[in-house]
Structures are given as structure tokens and as C-alpha cells.
Symmetry: C2
Subunit: 425 residues, 2 copies
């Protein structure tokens, strides 16, 4: 112990998040700030061990702060710092720590200045934001007017941020991260996410099971959603060894999973596809029926997609399929709108129409109505058209309308990705 | 107090939710079960006062159950009931209540039967799910194999459900709701949500402020997101009086807000628009640039939208605007792709192309790149074309790419809604 004290560094290991706000106890809103906090703490090997959400009750909040400070090294409180009567967090901090709380002329002038910058008069209620808890460090708010605060309680830290996510995030970076760097500087927890498309969770788990023993079950997390799988690899250690551990893990997983790995640390298949197209100078256009624009929306969510995405047609009606995508009338009549033939014709048609390198077509029955014995709800055909040929896929996806549509988009994106990667255009 | 006891009914008033599972303490997943639980409890006037999330640690979970049972009347625990070693909730319940926990032959046979129904052998680890906490009522799982449990602790209730949302939901309905009906049967809490489009939160708040005094500030919640406002009206009471209260509140808010109210208890503007079109036998088509298909995707998220939505064009490139939407080349050159003129031409063009009653066009700069001094990031033009004329709107929306796109969709949907409602086609 004395070595740490000599160095002045007692590492932080455990943390808790407390979100304050009655709106977070209703049926509509969840506290999502804790995800961002957890992500940042994980980088420094600090583990979140508990989360709480409480309403705007000063005693409850004070009790919780006290209880959590007994359990963990770092408590991050978000919310309840605004100017209205139901903002009780400052007062609760003072009560929890048994410290005085007083008006601060310095804080007031800072808040007045913020309002002056916005060219708005400061309402009197905002004076409550100028209260200072004895012994705390006020944290200026780069993106708003409510200051945060940070208190060292013995070896522990209590950090209090506004509930507005972008204000919280800026303060987390500017004021908590430096503390973490000072206290946990040597140890790093890093993660790397392998994104997989076109695979099923249980099969993937079976394929990688043997790697659990090698790297530790707790260091690999599988997250699945609608045809997308994220394999999160974790490593902890000092300096560059963490990166080396992750490199080794990634190599081992690549050996097992091969081309099913679509990308590393990508937000989704749409990002992988846009990057793959961009690096090859290629382009794509989309023809959508049951997904109604969701595939185009996914691709264009990626900044810079305009370089590679020419656009698309949402051919919800058969008429649109014929007139805009040149799907032959007799193909529609013979095979029905939800069929391999129509998916292929849509992909081919949109590729010709937009003169893009690739064309993607999706047609299916998202439900809840429209299913038949032959083509039950969830039946989706998709096709990818390149210069040499057109590929086709079909599946019956589980879930409700929204879920079937999401599966469809991911299935089509993954098919496209595999074609692009194989360099057949 | 004795009156209640004579009737055998001590109403439940307060509740807490405890989610168990280390995966809920990471950076990816939030406990969303609590929203569903809160919604159900609200119907019976039971208020959630605290939420906690804990990892798979039997002592921590036991402590939390004990603490929460001291604070509130009803504790709902979700998760940690599965068959693996990290599922500790049953054991934690026994420790928290100081009760014994033993193998139950009855539970085992129920679980074996479930596996037999799936035509799968029951792995031995599943025996852990057959543990019975003394004095608890086991809850069969209609949608899975892990039983839940319910314990009466004095006048309080501890309900323990699986973490899988659909399993939790079925058990909540079949096993907790009857308890709530028995204990809170006479009192009903209902809510009604007014959906507003095309308005700003702070202005809306100013307009309805006087109604707060009349109906109580705590009975009105304003939720704003990207151009959509939800005004949630709450009423509590017995029998039909609750509906009457809500009717009265709605009428008062309608008087103030008029046509800004787009719908009641609607999931979004897309639902309002689809219903408005359907009831009038009208149709729409969409032309999207910066939203890349998001407007089409929103409309087609509504089941039955195929009756009113013919489809659309995602004209991400200028080429597509010209060839598919007949936007004149010189208009594009003179005014630029992001302009009133092009938005109008897109709406008009797509309406002609699809021969629909209405056409909607959106063009803008979602960012983060592409902004200029004249047309900064967030600048969006939209237009609605009907048989007699074309209307135009423009705004500079705040936020990142994704947020600007969401605002744009809502702005366009609200413009369309207002035109449809005024019956000008």
C-alpha cells in the first residue's frame, strides 16, 4: 500500500453510475448516458459494478451517493443540475458528503457569461446553478450552461455531470478522463469488435467455442441482432501488450471465421460496404420493396456515401417495379412480386437504370398481413447484380414487421459485401 | 389502516425494478425490461421509484433485494434465472429473505416437459432451474424454460422474471397483473398521448403552461425528439371517471394547440399520414435526397401502407434527379441541388412519375461535410405537391447527420399531414 501512496497513485478499479431524473423512471426513457460512461471507463480498466436511476428526490439521491461511495472507487452522477426546482443533485451531493453549499460569485459570473454568449438574458432561476459545494471542483460546461462538479472523497472520486448527453460527454472527456489518466495511466483495457454478417448466433458460438478456453470466456462477448453479429474481444494489460493481445485474438478468430468477418470496429454492414466500394471506386443503386427505403437509408447514414451510392427506387407497387425498374410484366404475373425472379429483375433493373457497378434488389413479405401458405410472412428474396451475373438469396426471417425488414437489409448488405470483396464486378 | 385489512387489500403504491446480468453493465446493452414493467404498473397507479442494474453476484443481488423491499411495496427482478453458473438470482432471493432453497421434483418435471415439447434433451445444468425458494410461488414460463417466482413478503411482493423480454412480458401479464388487479383493482391510471408535429418544444411549453395549473404539472409530460413532440396526459381515478378526465384534458389542449395536434396515441407522424391517406382513398410517392430512403422507410413501417404508398425515388445523385424525377438540368445548375426550386421539382416530379395524389420531395445537407456559408450543414428544403399546387418548407436543423435526417423526415411528414387534412388535393 505505501508504494502507491509514495507515488501518489491509488488506482481506481470499480465504478457506479447514478442517473437522476423522474423522467428516467417513466415508461419512455432509459438512462443511456451510462453506456457512454462505461465505454470511457473501460478504456482505463475501471469496471462499472452497479447502475441506479432515481427520481428528483434530494434525500434518496443523497442516500444513494453515500451508499455507492462506500461500495466503489468512482461514482458518476448524471442529471439534476439544471435551474428548475426539481433539479436537486447539487444539494444531494452536499448532504451526502456533509458539506456546506453556498452561492459562488465566480460560478454566477461564468453562467452570466454563457447567457451573454447566447445573447439571452439570464433568468433568475439560473442562480441555483451557481451553488458551490464546499471542497468540490466546479466543471465548466462547454456545451451548455449548467456547471458540473468533481469531488475527491478520500481516495475516491465523485463526478457529477449534466444529464444532456452531449454536455455530459464533453465534460466526461475534459474533466474525468484526465483523472483516469492520472490514476489508471498504466493499465489499459481495450476492445475490438469483429462484425459478422450472414451467420447465425448459435452456429457462430459453436465455431468459436474452442477459442474461449484459449483467451478466456470473459474476454469474448457475442452480441446478435437481426442478422448482424458483433464479437467483442477484450484485453487488459499495460502499454502495447494490449494491442498485441488483441491482434493475436483477432488472428485466431479470423482463422476460424474467415470471410464471415465483415469488418473490424465498424458501426454496421453499411459502413463496411460503403468503404469497400469507395476503396475500389465502385458504385451501387438499390431497388426496394418490403424494406421501403431502409436499405438506402442505411447506406446514406454513412457520411461520404454520396461518392458510392447513386440512389434507388422504392417500388412498393407493381406498377413502379415495371415502369421504373423494367421488371417484365409477365415475370410479375407468373412468379408474383415476392419471388427470386422479381428480386433478380429489380437488382438488374436498378443497376441499368442508375448505370452503377452494382444493383441490389429486395422483395418480401414483412407482415403482419400478406402471408400465404406458399410464402409465409417473413419470406424475403434479395439479389445482387454485377456486370457479369446476378446472385440471389432467400430466407424466412423471424419476428415482427420491423424486425423482418432489418434482417432483410442486413442480408442484402452482406451479400453485396461478399460480392464486392471477391472482386467480381 | 384497519379498513384495508378488513377488506384484505393493502394497495401497492411504490415499486422498484432490479435487472440482474453483467451484460447489462457493459457498454452495449441497457435494461429495457423496466420500461415494459413501468408501463404495466402505471396502469394500476403503482409508481416506479428506483431502478438498479447489478452484475451476476449473489451477495450484491441479495443485498439489493433486501434494501429495495424495505423502500417500496413491490420489487420486480428480471434476469439471472437461466441454467448457467452465472445465473444467481434464485439463490440471491433465498439469501435476501433468509429462506431455504431446495430441489423441487415438480419444477424439474415441468422443465423436462418443456424440453420434451421442443424435442430436445434437457441438459443436466438445467436442474439448477428446478430450485425452489421456500414459500415462493413458482411461475411457469410460457415462452421459455426458466421458471420465475413470486413471493409475498409481509404486505409486499417480490416478483422475479426471466431477462428475455418476451418471456418476461408473458409472465408479467399472466402472474403479476392478477396480483395488481387484486391489490389495486379499483384505481386506474391511464394516459393519452397527443402527437404534435411542426412545432418547437419551448414554444409548445409556453402555449400550454396555463393548463398545468388546471390539470396539475405532474399530469402532463412533454417529450420532444427531432421535430416530434409527445404530450402525455395522465389521469388517475376510479372506473369511467378516468376516461372523462382524459377527454376533458384533451379538449383543453386541443383548444390551445388546434391543428398542431397530429394524432392521439399514434406511434409517429407516419402512422397519422398513412391513416389520413387511407381514410381519404389517396396515395403518395416520395423523392428523397439527403434522407436517402428514410421517409419511405418510415411510411412503410406502418402495416397496410401499401394501400397508400406507391413508392419513391432516392435521388442521391443529380443524374437521378434529372432522369428519374425530371428535375430540369438548368434548375439544378442555377439553384443547386439543395434549394427550394429543386425540392419543388422533386415533389412534382415524383408525383407525376408515380401518378399519386401527393408527392413529397426532400433535399438538404445532412453533414458533417458539404456545408457552405450560404447553405450550412443542417439546411433542408422539403416540398409537398398536390393536384393544385406545391408547398415548400425550409429549415436549418441542429445536430449530427442522423439527427438532421430525422428532423427532415418529420418536417416533411408534418407538411404532408397538414395538406391532407385541409383537403386540398
Amino acid at each position: 500500500m505505501w508504494r502507491y501512496i509514495m507515488l501518489g497513485v491509488i488506482p481506481l478499479r470499480s465504478a457506479a453510475c447514478l442517473a437522476v431524473g423522474s423522467e428516467l423512471l417513466g415508461q419512455y426513457r432509459l438512462d443511456s448516458n451510462s453506456l457512454r460512461v462505461t465505454e470511457e471507463l473501460a478504456r482505463f480498466g475501471v469496471r462499472v459494478e452497479e447502475k441506479r436511476v432515481l427520481g428528483d428526490d434530494v434525500d434518496c439521491v443523497a442516500d444513494a451517493i453515500r451508499e455507492l461511495l462506500e461500495k466503489v472507487d468512482l461514482v458518476v452522477v448524471t442529471g439534476g443540475l439544471g435551474p428548475t426546482a426539481d433539479d436537486v443533485t447539487r444539494e444531494a451531493v452536499a448532504r451526502a458528503l456533509g458539506r456546506s453549499i453556498d452561492h459562488s460569485a465566480e460560478l454566477e459570473s461564468w453562467i452570466r457569461q454563457r447567457y451573454a454568449e447566447y445573447k439571452r438574458p439570464m433568468p433568475d432561476v439560473c442562480l441555483s446553478m451557481a451553488l458551490h459545494v464546499d471542497g468540490s471542483r466546479p466543471l465548466p460546461n462547454a456545451r451548455g450552461s449548467a456547471p458540473g462538479l468533481l469531488v475527491h472523497v478520500g481516495d475516491k472520486i465523485l463526478a457529477v455531470f449534466p444529464g444532456v448527453p452531449r454536455e455530459m460527454e464533453a465534460m466526461l472527456e475534459s474533466d474525468l478522463v484526465p483523472e483516469l489518466e492520472a490514476r489508471c495511466g498504466q493499465k489499459h483495457h481495450l476492445e475490438r469488435t469483429l462484425l459478422l454478417g450472414g451467420v447465425v448466433e448459435s452456429e457462430t458460438e459453436a465455431r468459436v467455442r474452442k477459442l474461449y478456453d484459449r483467451f478466456g470466456r470473459e474476454n469474448v462477448t457475442i452480441l446478435a441482432s437481426f442478422g448482424l453479429i458483433r464479437l467483442v474481444l477484450n484485453a487488459e494489460g499495460e502499454g502495447e501488450s494490449v494491442q498485441r493481445q488483441l491482434d493475436e485474438m483477432e488472428a485466431a478468430f479470423r482463422e476460424v471465421l474467415g470471410h464471415d468477418i465483415a469488418g473490424v470496429d465498424a458501426t454496421g454492414l453499411e459502413e463496411v460496404v460503403v468503404n469497400a466500394l469507395r476503396s475500389r471506386g465502385q458504385t451501387v443503386a438499390t431497388a426496394e420493396s418490403c424494406t421501403g427505403g431502409l436499405l438506402g437509408a442505411a447506406l446514406t447514414e454513412v457520411s461520404g456515401s454520396s461518392e458510392v451510392y447513386f440512389g434507388g427506387v422504392v417500388s412498393y407497387s407493381n406498377n413502379a417495379k415495371e415502369s421504373l425498374l423494367a421488371v417484365p410484366h409477365d415475370v410479375l404475373v407468373k412468379h408474383g412480386a415476392v419471388s427470386e425472379e422479381v428480386a433478380r429483375a429489380m437488382a438488374f433493373g436498378v443497376r441499368s437504370r442508375f448505370a452503377s457497378n452494382w444493383g441490389v434488389g429486395i422483395t418480401g413479405i414483412a407482415g403482419p398481413t400478406g402471408g400465404t401458405d406458399d410464402k409465409p410472412v417473413g419470406t424475403v428474396h434479395w439479389a445482387v447484380s454485377g456486370s457479369e451475373r446476378t446472385w440471389h438469396g432467400v430466407a424466412r426471417f423471424p419476428g415482427n414487421r420491423s424486425v423482418v425488414r432489418q434482417w432483410s437489409v442486413n442480408a442484402a448488405l452482406d451479400s453485396l459485401r461478399r460480392r464486392i470483396e471477391r472482386g467480381i464486378d
